[in-house]
Amino acid sequence: MNRIYLSLALLVLVAGAGLLLVPLEEKREEAEAGQLLQDLRDASRFVSTDAVARRIIEQDPALLLVDLRPEKEFNAFHLPAAINIPFENLMEEDALDILADDRREIVLVSQRDVLSEEAWLLLRRMRMKHIYIMRGGLHSWAETILRPPVPPESCPEEVRRRYQARLGAQQFFTGVNAVQEKKEINSPEVVIPQRKSRQTTLEGGC
């Protein structure tokens, strides 16, 4: 009987020692290089401007837009419901507190997407997995939402539906009434659409 008690006591001792040792290693709060490389190859961190526009319009409460540009540029123009964390302030306590909150999905926005990518990588190293990047940044926003390119007639239905959605978004974000454009597309008469020279940034493609 004594032997059993002894072995049980030994078991508890070893288990206790093990519990002490293991968390010491587990305390690593950072991801490793190999893991980050895998994350880089995975493209799931990107969200399109269309997706962001839709979520803003639907007032998705889970979305948080973080603008990484300098304060001056942010004040000149920013997306609705975006907050400003200039890239140079990214590592401050307040900023990291906001970014570490994983109850919301944080989408990083910058001029293009280089700053966003850099910020994403640094935050990912700190094990923040709820951070995304708006692909193309505000440059792409201007090219797809503010001035959606008119797709040629030959494009598939999906592309034209997307264009319609973008027209709606354009109306939402600029206040411009897009009725005029819609009439041109739905009208059965043969109307030669007057191509506004600025609109066709992506000419010919779908």
Partner: protein, 222 residues
């Protein structure tokens, strides 16, 4: 009277040793990472804020055309893009092989030879990840190509891309959004709308998560 020992009773003695072995195994499996970080996050972030980490296409063009150059261009795109066209003298290390032994060794030897490693992808963003990884792993002489290969190719062969192509990259161009919105409204004949600021919805209230202080011992009690 000696009772016949049950299975458990027979082998109970061995249990602590088994547990110790398991815990030792788990502890051993948490080995050190193959490529440990040499620079902290904040350190690298500060380094990024300094100018000179990104080469403009003009600078790159000048460097690789120079004789006896001390720059080594590294192409991080896939093999097909590389074969279609790359910077003369560039070495091909695609992203997924960046931390392979062979690639890592060659990068190390480039740095030891005193070369400045310039990473480039199709666009500027493609090289940002590899660049940051190398920076954090301790590489000193690493830079990025602004605008990526697309911009540089356009610079070298302007006839191929045409006049309308504008190579713009982060840090160079500035988009005047209020101007764009104004133009859009003018085109639609609706200039007299409320200014842009009034259109925007309220900024969300950012709730800073309160750090929970450790609960003190139970108060009250029976």
């Amino acid at each position: 009277m000696i009772m016949k020992k049950t299975f458990v009773q027979k082998y109970l003695l061995y249990l602590p040793f088994l547990m110790a072995a398991l815990i030792l195994l788990e502890w051993l499996s948490l080995k050190a990472p193959e490529y440990p970080w040499k620079r902290g996050v904040k350190e690298v972030h500060s380094a990024l804020l300094q100018a000179g980490e990104t080469f403009s296409p003009e600078q790159a063009k000048f460097y690789f055309q120079e004789e006896g150059t001390k720059y080594q261009f590294v192409d991080v795109r896939d093999i097909y893009a590389f074969n279609l066209g790359h910077i003369p003298g560039a070495v091909h290390i695609p992203l997924h092989r960046l931390l392979d032994d062979a690639s890592y060794e060659s990068l190390r030897s480039m740095e030891e030879a005193g070369l400045l490693i310039v990473l480039y992808g199709e666009d500027e963003r493609e090289a940002a990840g590899p660049y940051l990884l190398l920076k954090q792993l301790g590489f000193e002489n690493v830079r990025m190509l602004g605008g990526g290969y697309a911009c540089l190719a356009a610079l070298l062969e302007p006839e191929a891309v045409g006049d309308s192509y504008k190579c713009a990259y982060a840090g160079v161009e500035e988009i005047d959004f209020p101007q764009i919105i104004k133009e859009i409204r003018e085109e639609a004949g609706q200039e007299n709308l409320a200014p842009v600021e009034a259109m925007e919805t309220q900024q969300p209230e950012v709730v800073l998560p309160k750090r929970r202080t450790k609960q003190t011992t139970l108060e009250g009690g029976c």
